[in-house]
Amino acid sequence: MGSAVEQNVRAITVADRLRAQGISRRGFLKFCASTASLMALSPAMVPAIARALENARRPSVIWLSFQECTGCTESLTRSHSPSVESLILEQVSLDYHHTLQAASGEAAELARETAMQENQGKYLLVVDGSIPVKDGGVYSTIAGITNVDMLNEVAAGAAAIIAVGSCAAFGGIGHARPNPTGAMPVSEIVTDKPIVNVSGCPPIPTVITGVLAHFLTFNKLPDLDDLGRPLAFFGQSIHDRCYRRPFYDKGLFAESFDDEGARKGWCLYRLGCKGPATYNACATTKWNQGTSFPIEAGHPCLGCSEPDFWDMGSFYRALSIPTEDTTRTLVYGVGTGAVLGAAAAAVARSRKSKAKAAHYKVSVNDLEEST
């Protein structure tokens, strides 16, 4: 019976819940406008969002943390004061998150199993951290269950999966060379469920809530790019939206961290900025309640929302520089070329001298004799 009551509570729509909290229709419309802004949708979508939220049910969310540093959870929970974003978080039922929940040990795992049973096929699975698969996945376990087993088990009944952070989305630092634990992203283990990758190290908190809001509102995942990231936030590169872009276009670059160019706020390309090849919302959404983002603080973009950004060469070398040691190739190349060239020259010379030795003079008389 208890679970039936629980089901009834869940059946109440988001609009009803807000109304029950004493929020007026105007407040609800404002909530929709803020949600649209959060999801990076056009304000013209507000009526559609309002309609959708009138019917939206409170989804159950199971959050699994694997090989991770808790930076993603920190990003989400610490970066904003209670606000409209937290109102959105209140609209989901976070049934399992082993860092945040009060329960521990068997009670915690029971909460996960209960949530899975009661919402079979309907719950949202959020994953942060990569999944080690080498040696049977022994490198990371929770309650004696390997990460890979737990992921497969929980993913089986999920409606959709949100891979939060570059580790869950692309493997992240665990997956970086030499990848001692055989770390993998979610998408390489679970292939039969819709997955959205909210990459970044950590991801922008409003992007995490934006994707949650989208699922809550429309009961489906947002439009994705070819790396499975929500287009609304990852549709444009840092470079395209960077306020320092005019300096790149004019060819004005900072060449060290304290030269005149750096002080004047010129482009950080030569200091290794990966902004041109990085797709994320930092340049517009920014960090710490919209205060700033790395480039605004004078540091080049590391490209943390792109796959394998740890293995893309130094953070402080320009994007146009090859990732391997070209000077060494050049020196070895000259050496090899010199040896092979000398050999080729020796062959040519010996052929030349042989030809010379084989050469004999023929007089007109000789020719006449031979005919």
Binding site: R26, G27, K30, A33, S37, S83, V84, R245, P246, K264
Partner: protein, 147 residues
Amino acid sequence: MTRDTEQVRQPGICVGRDRGNDRPVLTELYHALETLKRCGKETIVDIKSLPFGSIDEQRLAEFLGKGEVEAVLHALGESRITETAFPGIWWIEHRDEHGEITAKSIEVANIPGILKSQHDDVADACRRLGSLVQLADPDEEPGSIET
């Protein structure tokens, strides 16, 4: 383009945040206003999603100026709805309980949708007032108050 270089020369001003993106927005607003005049169709422009530098937004706000109406909405924090010096163009800023901006837009309309009393709230008010009137004068038919 010349504006950029001027900013560079002035010390103390944050450099490079002038992206000159206020100009195209003004053009868009002009066309939206013209459409509103012609056929009453409303337009909303989301400012938060534009690649504005702080200078761009400030300049746009200064250009649009302040008009006759300034409304404050108290729901989920404060919202400020201001008519600009160009009637029909409204500057709307939604803030949460902590004063943080959650949405910012320019609405081109005769009156922004959120200022109108909403049907659900009106129905709610009707119920409440009806029961109050009934308490005061039990003979009066509550439905007749409704307009």
